[in-house]
């Protein structure tokens, strides 16, 4: 469904949101340990998100990644778009390029419902509300 890169990104952002108000930046080492992901690969992903201003970063001693209050309000769908693009949200279930109501693949309507349900889920959830659940101990972002 989502690429590994995108899964790491979502887990990372939710974790960063839990640390939003402690005034401390999170180093890539700590971050990848907290979400159980390969460190240099996670760094790449974070750089991309930082360039797209989905997260913030500062270099140097006591530097690291963090998100501000505005950034905590973004929804999962924005992260997915930033990393994986929109194919997963709009593509045909059987790979037809021009699948549509008037030119449907054999599972067009049923698959559209599933895919739209997924889009809806991504569109509903903000990073912040998922972080609150994580802080409360009701969910996990690492194995």
């Amino acid at each position: 469904m989502l690429s590994n890169a995108c899964k790491y990104a979502i887990r990372a952002l939710i974790y960063l949101a839990t640390r939003m108000n402690d005034g401390v930046k999170v180093s890539i080492r700590e971050l990848s340990a907290e979400i159980d992901s390969p460190e240099p690969f996670t760094a790449k992903i974070m750089q991309s998100l930082s360039k797209q201003e989905i997260i913030s970063s500062v270099k140097g001693p006591h530097g690291g990644f963090y998100i501000d209050e505005k950034q905590a309000e973004i929804r999962l769908i924005e992260i997915v778009k930033a990393i994986d693009g929109t194919q997963v949200l709009t593509g045909c279930g059987l790979g037809l390029k021009n699948c549509s109501e008037t030119h449907p693949c054999p599972i067009h309507s049923e698959f559209s419902a599933i895919r739209d349900g997924f889009s809806h889920l991504l569109n509903e959830k903000t990073i912040q509300e998922l972080a609150i659940e994580l802080i409360a101990g009701h969910s996990k972002v690492k194995n």
Copy 2:
């Protein structure tokens, strides 16, 4: 969601089912033209399905691929399992290896519903019933 290989496989099987009773085998050339897929790659996929006895084949002149009545009754989920495995049907939405009710990722229950809906769709549809819709002109397996 599904790999390209799996999408080609499903389209190919539905097409083969539409040709089930005309007593003629379908060559890989004709098949890949009918479903708009790369010929040698499709051949590989068909070989794998043939070895797993999901489809049948005969070599030589007037040979090709076909499915019998029993094979037309299989459900999409069997094709998915044969090509892509079960990860798409059971895996965690955020990639946690041991995500579960008692150790849930932040979107565990919502994602499970989506994934189970997809499994249900794959489990409902037989090749044969999708072929009937294709014959009737109500759906397409090529662009």
